[in-house]
Amino acid sequence: MIRAVDVRKSFGELQVLKGVSLDLAEREVVAIIGPSGSGKSTFLRCLNRLEKIDSGRIDIGGDNLAHTTPDGHCRHAPDSKVRRIRARMGMVFQHFNLFPHMTVLENVIAAPMTVARRARADILPEAEILLNKVGIWDKCDAYPSQISGGQKQRLAIARALAMRPEIMLFDEPTSSLDPELTGEVLRTMRQLAEARMTMLVVTHEMAFAREVANRVIFMDNGEILEARPSAEFFENPIHKRARAFLENML
């Protein structure tokens, strides 16, 4: 579904991604972990063109988002194609980024109506199912400011799912929540994984990475140092940076 090859990205002088490659198969759940500043968010943001890469290649489910020509130029897909690609990928941010002026229900149906141009009546049953799935249907007329952090994040997930994405990207979806609310969100994500959604998750929740992810990718300083089945990785991290990191976390 996602293929990234030798992706490089700098902000000014600072090289943030130093050749990152990744293959994400359909129905796979991959967790990305690593210390702060290692480039995890940037990598995720490159996958749906919130950042433009400097060189390398990214394909999403067969569509090319960017590639480097043999003469070294990086060709980026045009905006219209980017939007089509984005519609196939849901993204959930650390800070939710809900639309505060819309109710819970409106947050879910806004994009299908505006972007996919579907009729309101057509989406409503689906929205109800989604909101029920994440457990906040009873809050459907509340505004984001009136629900808890955990509910906000579950709403963000529902909002992304309403566009019927093939892939879900999560960027530390629980790290602005306190530990109890974290539980709610992780449960929702676990359900998604069980329903066999393709997922790429940047997270600090080791329990989640260990139990839910098929594979774990350990990034440090703009590089992928390890990428192995999660059970193996947690059992016995090869790289000593990874080992130090795990010790610090637990």
Partner: protein, 216 residues
Amino acid sequence: MDTLFNNIVPLLHGARVTLELFFITVILAMPLGLALALMRISRFRLLTAGVNAYIWLMRGTPLMLQMFFIYFALPNIPGFPIILPDFLTAVIAFTLNYAAYLSEVFRAGIQSIDKGQYEGAKVLGYTYLQTMRHIVMPQVIKRVLPPLSNETITLVKDTSLIYVLALSDLLKVVRGIVLRDFSPAPFVVAAVFYLLMTFLLTWVFQRMEKHYAVYD
């Protein structure tokens, strides 16, 4: 009170001129101000610089001089004189001037919207225009209400400047009566009118703020 009754016709006429200028300016300057704000935050350097210069000029010189300019300088352009009627001159000067002020209000409002809102919309596939229309603007309106309220209240009082164009706004009518009757009492009428307008505007804006407060 006598003064009031005896002069009710010119007073009403003056109030009408004031109110007309006020409402027309509000209706025209808002969209123009918004357009200027969008141009100013656009990526086109030249456009941005142009709008910047415009705003500087409009905010940097007194509105009265701007009216003089449109009224007396444009008709003297050699070969292409533009002679505008009084009220139209006032409307144009006020609109151009207030659009500059309002554009700064809108710009601040737009820039105060969290970057996350744009990204949230982007990843859902929104175009720039859709993002502006459905996500950013509805939130901007709420945020600009307080400064907008300030600007409109200032506008109410600025309308009296059109006396330089021989237009009879309320304050000018009142001043005329004061001159004729040698009594400063009519000024009270003017003060009450302005206070009332301010009161009404404040009320309307507070209602609107409350309306938008639901999602706070």
